[in-house]
Amino acid sequence: MTCARIIFTLSLCTGLPALAQVELSGSWASKNHEDALERGAGPNPVDFAGIPFNESGRAKALSYSQSQISMPERICAFYSQWHMMIGTFGVKIWNEADPVTGKTVAWIVGAWEDRAPMRIWMDGRPSPSKNAPHSQEGFTSGVWDGDVLTATTTHMMTGYLRRNGVMTSDQATMITHFIRHGDMLTLASALEDPIYLTEPYYITRTFVLTTNPMNLGGPPCLIGDEGVEEGRVPHNLPGKNPFLDEMFKLYGIPVEAEMGGAETMYPAYRDKIKDKFVMPTKCQKNCGAPAAGQN
């Protein structure tokens, strides 16, 4: 290679539009310092505050009984890709490259127990037909915006928006931004659902790079028999949910706030419930800071 050719080649290189991608590969530990209960043992029943759902979404959530996940046919039914944002676990991420060009064909966010892997296609392949079958994995495509990877997921089956019966429909779209700052990976995700939500539902959470490998824990979710009698679907009929005042009993939060709706996400809503809130004298349940090593 002559000097002239080198210079010519390099000038082409440096003149190319920059694709400022970042490395996402690695094991990322979840830091559940926020929404610790929601991401840990699971939220309280009928804790719907901050959910921008419509009447259908609310009715669906109120009809839910936690015992549904004891049914063999439903034990794995509610974990869509949104579970990455509300579940307990960390994530392991790697890329699959074209063996000839080295170009990344897909980024993979590995599965964990009940969540299927998220395969973020980077090769520009078209989205499946709107009539294509839906799955828990769904279909995800990604693009780089500078050093932020934006992934869009469609074709998911219905699943939890919050693990107490707040559901996403199979028409939901999930948009996730992967933002890396040093050893931290922040995921900012929006869930749009024309069936159950009046506004997008936004969640953000941060993971920390770790040298402890994340266990990939597949295949996702194992069906087991927990003894629920065949043919019975645990549920609550309209107006019969026994946990309507659970959050009032535990935390003094008015029932109307726990019924959710978009207004409960915004600061002005505080004025509406200020005089109805009853400050508990002492936290009664799920109160403590986690013990060392449990974060």
Binding site: C3, I6, T9, L10, S11, C13, T14, G15, L16, P17, A18, A20, V22, H33, E34, D35, A36, G50, P52, D145, G146, V148, T173, I175, H177, H181, M184, T186, A188, A190, P200, Y202, I203, T204, R205, T206, V208, M247, Y251, G252, I253, A257, T264, M265, Y266, P267, A268, R270, I273, F277, M279, P280, T281, K282, C283, C287, A289, P290, A292, N295
Partner: protein, 262 residues
């Protein structure tokens, strides 16, 4: 030998084009005048923002119950301090703003107003608690004096690496990935991480990253990753992420004083 030199040269330039750049954008380039932080801003954070509260709702929208410390990696000493929390005492001593210090401020349900105070200083105001934070760029030196609720904040832009000669970012492209604001805050007056008295000390250090995102529906979001370290009261860095939605105007801006009880 000739081939070896060429390979090394190619490798060197290739590395140069992909090296990450964490930059205080402020230099005006070779021989040019220094560019101000305002002029160098890769994204425009200014304007009004409203917090979207759908995480930690029961700790933010209402008063957390005494003793409700869930999620905070606090030390045993911090727990003892928190258990002695007395909001009436805070009010009586004029300390009703202890939960509005920099490490907790962006957790309040609130509106933000972000504007340039001058070309090197970005100002963030909140209606909740009527607080003001100043983010200083460049070679700013913190003044000596007592610690303060909002501390001293040094700011820098972080911009993604671009190859030399690369086209400038498309102004019409979404803001994500164009760059973000990093703020480091020290010299803090002791305060509360959570309104029910979870404490931090004056040795706490706050590190924040501010990222802007445009969503499919047109919403512009501000995502703030908040990391608080405090060797005395935290066993490990306390990491939370708050998000805000851009507003077209100051609608909803409602300055309210600090409250120790609501």
């Amino acid at each position: 030998m000739r081939h070896g030199n060429a390979s090394r040269l190619a490798l060197a330039v290739a590395l140069f084009t992909i090296l990450p750049l964490e930059a205080q954008r402020g230099g005006g380039g070779r021989g040019g005048p220094a560019q101000s932080a305002q002029a160098a801003a890769p994204v425009d954070l200014t304007g009004y923002w409203v917090s979207i509260v759908n995480e930690d709702w029961r700790f933010r929208m209402v008063m957390p119950a005494p003793g409700d410390y869930q999620g905070v990696p606090m030390t045993a000493e911090a727990r003892r301090v928190a258990d002695a929390w007395n909001p009436a005492k805070d009010e009586a001593s004029g300390d009703e703003c202890k939960a509005y210090g920099a490490p907790a401020l962006l957790r309040a349900p609130e509106h933000l107003h972000i504007a340039w105070q001058d070309a090197q200083t970005l100002r963030l105001e909140t209606d909740a608690g009527k607080q003001t934070r100043l983010f200083h760029f460049g070679g700013w030196k913190a003044p000596s004096g007592p610690s303060a609720l909002q501390g001293d904040s040094a700011a820098m832009w972080e911009v993604p690496a671009r190859g030399r000669g690369a086209a400038p970012p498309d102004p019409n492209a979404p803001p994500q990935g164009k760059g973000s604001l990093k703020v480091t805050t020290t010299h803090l007056k002791p305060g509360y991480l959570r309104k029910n008295g979870v404490p931090y000390t004056e040795n706490a250090v706050l590190t924040e990253n501010y990222d802007m995102i445009k969503e499919h529906n047109g919403d512009i979001m501000l995502v703030v990753t908040i990391v608080t370290t405090d060797p005395q009261y935290l066993r490990e860095p306390f990491i939370i992420t708050s998000h805000f939605k851009k507003q077209a105007s100051d609608s909803g801006w409602n300055p309210t004083p600090c409250s120790a009880k609501w």
